[in-house]
Amino acid sequence: MSETTENPIREAIADAINDHEVILFMKGTPERPACGFSARTVAALEATGARFAAVDILPDPRIRQELSALSNWPTIPQLFVKGELVGGCDIVVEMYESGELAETLGVAPPADAPDHAPAGNEPGAPPLQIQNNLES
């Protein structure tokens, strides 16, 4: 028996990061975030008007494990732009408030964008059906 070094989950994560200009790894979905930090990050991203891909890390604990090993970042959410880790909730919210987030995402902030990052919806119950975009 030969030992395999294949790590399909890590490869799928790396591919997802490379294939999407803006991708958020989060708990829950943008429609139904399952954690306040993920909710705040989604709200800041949505307020810039940028489009982003989202991956729910909850369905399989290995997603979080492999993601953190890959990014050298221990917490969720994690935002990647053009293949680079931008940060978690604190950094994204700070960047939103300074205007840096829209710049990084390559969008003009909407004229009516609030100065302070929107609070985000309260986390709801976990969604009944979870789409794991990594596998699609």
Partner: protein, 77 residues
């Protein structure tokens, strides 16, 4: 497994990062969601990502373990 307290988190940050000063609050009162504000001379010249990684590294696997969440604000002295 250790039960984290704001005082313990503060001490761990300040003893691991030379010259650091940390203020730690318990966000929920539940002893697992914290916020830390950290000032350290060595943050000068580091990106925000690197500064946060430096603080997370102090806690290693305790982040995601007993410390469920550690929200950070970091500044160079």
């Amino acid at each position: 497994m250790f039960v984290p307290s704001t005082e313990e988190l503060k001490l761990r940050i300040e003893s691991a990062i030379p010259g650091a000063r940390a203020e730690v609050t318990d966000l929920t009162g539940g002893g697992d969601h914290f916020r830390a504000s950290v000032l350290a001379p060595e943050f000068a010249g580091m990106s925000r990502i690197e500064q946060h990684r430096r603080v997370y590294a102090v806690f290693g696997p305790d982040i995601g373990g007993p410390i469920h969440a550690l929200s950070l604000e970091t500044r160079a002295e």
